[in-house]
């Protein structure tokens, strides 16, 4: 009885405390009671680490009662807008890590004497179940982190962001092998033999504690030994460069590049906190790191003089994408990176092909359709392209078309060589049906809209997402304006498009979380991404939006659709998440269109991803519901 009285007082006090802060102020009474009942108070003196990635999967969820805790990013890549963030009373951590039952990516350090309530991971998960409010809070928190990462990369010039990520790598991580070193009394001949044996460009001279004393590089051999007629039996310390340049293992690749540039050296020694040699970094190590940066790839593409060089760049794009996925970049930036680089690659291929084909005086634009047209390319997309052109005055249209087709054939082949497989459905610019004048395109599109049979609807879903990648963009703009005008007045066509878009429902089950296909997987493209894409296209056509990207279409339409901005961003987040899962499941496959692409086994996802995926499908359902209402289907 007396413990009950005490609990009522103390647990009540915890409850009162929590009620001052979001989301606990909105939490269901039963859930809040559970939290207050289980929360225990701990103390963390100033400077102490509360939680770090090294501690393994997070075992406790903390709510700061008093004091200040700093969250610092520890990874090489800064994916959110803050490098460090100070949390105060009422704020809690870690949310993402404990939800996903993984180690925290941040280090949490008390910057003041701090008191924190804590609950165990199990209690945290139970609380999520118990409280829809808390669940929503955590999910939104994670979503907003993803969001922050997107904004971060959009605001920073994307190029620099990618570069920084590689150039902020710590030197300790770049060291490839154990250092080879000798003591100062070693005979020079023995040292040179060792360099030769290990095929290394420099030899480090250290004391017995492995502290560096000097260095001898290959380029020293000629002037100091050969030309100077140095006696190889004499010890190496007589000819080494003393006091070699050193950097701590925690220094960044950027620091190393700066040091090398400042002192004009090609090798730097990396030492541990006790000054002992950990390894050697050469200029080449840094160069290979930078080569994969966005700028380098771009420069590589722009300076390429043949398809061979572009093939190389195409592999680099892939590698960069894999690195970015590994660093946890959001789907939007990632597809934008890929899209931007693929555009550059396509443009260069087109430019190179023009050297072999005389197109002077022909006004044309190179169309990208489908996912490429929407800026939503994943790693495995085949070509979908076409040409729009205008016949020069006093020229034979068919002759011009022939020249364009011959040119397009080379471009298609070269794109295939660079990793974009030829389209099985022959949706390619070299197809005479897709190498059309502006008027012919209008006629084609007009036919589909006037007679929306199933094939026409399918075509519309591919071709209406066109975008000019190269050439005269005005041609594309004119076609877009015309198309929007026509389709807005063609309510029957839009209605059929909507009916078509409703044919596949998101795989949400009534009893189980997900409805699976026979092989136990979900097709993220067919049952996920496409729902968003189709709905966005219809909305864009109806409201006259010029963009071809799904996200832009939704964003621009939010006012016109009568849907709030928050609702739209929730829908967009859902779309991004599905795209991210697609990219993740693709990135291991090296072949295009492998069977496993786009398929995902929800049981293989962690709890958090599964929940977010479910939420993403709910957003897809919401969009479909909107279409149903709009078109009375």
């Amino acid at each position: 009885m007396s413990t009950a009285a005490a609990q009522q007082l103390l647990v009540g006090a915890s409850t009162d405390f929590l009620r001052h802060f979001s989301p606990f102020d909105r939490m269901e009474p039963a859930a809040l009671a559970y939290l207050a009942q289980h929360a225990v108070l701990g103390f963390h003196p100033r400077g102490s680490e509360i939680l770090t990635p090294e501690m393994g999967p997070s075992r406790h969820f903390y709510i700061i009662q008093r004091g200040k805790v700093q969250a610092r990013q520890t990874g090489a890549a800064v994916v959110t807008e803050y490098a460090s963030l100070t949390l105060g009373p009422g704020e809690c951590f870690p949310i993402g890590a404990i939800s996903a039952q993984r180690p925290s990516t941040n280090a949490y350090v008390a910057v003041e004497d701090s008191f924190c309530f804590q609950i165990t991971a199990d209690e945290f998960l139970h609380l999520m179940q118990l409280s829809p409010v808390f669940h929503l809070f955590c999910t939104q928190y994670i979503a907003s982190l993803l969001n922050q990462s997107r904004q971060q990369l959009q605001t920073t010039f994307s190029q620099r962001a990618a570069e920084q990520q590689t150039m902020t790598t710590q030197l300790g991580q770049l060291i490839k092998h154990e250092p080879v070193c000798v003591t100062p009394d070693t005979r020079t001949r023995a040292a040179l033999e060792k360099m030769n044996e290990f095929r290394i460009g420099c030899m480090v001279v250290t004391d017995t504690e492995k502290r560096p004393l000097g260095i001898l590089t290959q380029s020293d051999v000629l002037p100091r030994i050969v030309l100077a007629g140095f006696d190889l039996e004499r010890p190496i310390d007589e000819i080494m460069t003393a006091n070699p340049h050193q950097l701590p293992a925690a220094a960044s690749a950027y620091d190393a590049a700066l040091e090398m540039a400042t002192h004009g050296v090609r090798h730097l020694l990396v030492v541990d906190p006790n000054g002992r040699l950990k390894g050697v970094i050469s200029e080449r190590d840094l160069f290979s790191l930078q080569r994969i940066s966005l700028r380098q790839i771009r420069a590589g593409i722009e300076n390429a003089t043949d398809v061979g060089a572009l093939q190389h760049a195409s592999r680099d794009i892939r590698q960069l994408a894999l690195n970015l996925i590994a660093q946890g970049i959001g789907a939007e930036q990632l597809t934008q990176f890929i899209s931007a680089l693929n555009d550059a690659l396509t443009r260069r291929i087109i430019e190179l092909a023009q050297d072999h084909h005389d197109l002077v005086g022909i006004d044309f634009g190179w169309f990208a359709f489908g996912s490429e047209g929407r800026h939503e390319q994943t790693l495995s997309t085949d070509q979908d392209n076409g040409i729009v052109w205008r016949c020069p005055e006093l020229q034979d249209g068919e002759a011009v078309r022939k020249r364009l087709i011959a040119f397009a054939r080379e471009v298609n082949q070269n794109l295939a060589a660079c990793g974009f497989p030829l389209c099985k459905g022959n949706i390619m610019a070299s197809n005479p049906d897709l190498c059309l004048t502006l008027d012919e395109w209008k006629e084609r599109f007009g036919d589909w809209i006037r007679e929306p049979d199933p094939q026409a609807l399918l075509n519309a879903s591919i071709f209406f997402d066109f975008r000019v990648v190269y050439g005269n963009e005005r041609l594309g703009d004119q076609l877009r304006t015309w198309l929007n005008k026509l389709s807005r007045t063609s309510s029957n066509f839009l209605r059929m498009m909507a009916a078509n878009a409703l044919q596949v429902a998101p795989p949400l089950g009534r009893i189980r979380d997900f409805v699976l296909e026979d092989d136990g997987t979900i097709d993220l493209k067919k049952c996920g991404a496409r729902i968003f894409v189709d709905a966005a296209r219809i909305v864009a056509l109806r409201t006259g939006i010029d963009s071809s990207s799904t996200v832009q279409r939704l964003r621009q339409a939010s006012g016109k659709m009568g849907v709030s901005a928050e609702e739209i961003s929730a829908i967009i987040d859902g779309f991004h998440f599905i795209q991210l899962l697609r990219l993740r499941s693709q990135h291991l496959e090296t072949e295009h269109d492998a069977d496993g692409d786009n398929r995902i086994d929800p049981d293989a996802l962690n709890e958090l991803d599964r929940r977010i995926l479910k939420e993403a499908f709910r957003q897809a359902r919401k969009l479909q519901l909107r279409l149903k209402l709009d078109y009375q289907l």
């Binding site: 007396s2 413990t3 009285a5 005490a6 609990q7 007082l9 103390l10 647990v11 009540g12 006090a13 915890s14 009162d16 207050a36 009942q37 289980h38 929360a39 225990v40 108070l41 701990g42 103390f43 963390h44 003196p45 102490s48 008093r66 004497d113 008191f115 804590q118």
Partner: protein
Amino acid sequence: MNWISRFIGGRAEGDALEPGIAETLAHWQALPDADLSRAHFEARYVVVNTEATGLDLDRDRLLAVGAIAIDGGLVAPSDSYYAPLDGATSSALSGLLAFARKDPLIVFNAAFNLGMLEPLIDERLGIGLDAKVIDLYFLMPALFPERHGNPVRLAEWMESFGIETFQRHHALGDGWVIAQLFLAAQARALAQAATSPRALMELERAYRQYRRKA
């Protein structure tokens, strides 16, 4: 409130203990003494605090007792005890003992709190408390001389650490403050390699001796 009312209060319950209480006490007495060499993160401490009509040991009377456990360096609000001493005093006191077990007690100002509590336990339950006690009144200035070099009142430590509570001058309300102070004390003691209850007791004693000499 004088000795008469205390006398009357005492007589009201009679000398013979109720069977339930006697059993609790027997159980408590049979408990082994706490292991004072355990590390903080393994040790259970119990904050004990009282609420009285005033601060005069002779004239004033206890109103309530409160206790909060600190187990493994964490305070669990649900692991706490509170009992008014207005009626079933023996039962309240035996409940306190059962809650505290033989664990080291954390008190702020032992002279007063235990000065009130020990005679009452002796009177009502017929046993000597004889607990291992750590008095934060002395331990705090010993550990945090940069904040207060001399023993000061609880309110000053609250201000120094920015600690708040739901109700001042309440056995449990102040107990909650003491528990939080003790968390800070444990962390500081750990940094000074005082890792066990025994070490804390020695620190406290050394401080008192040093003060007496000074």
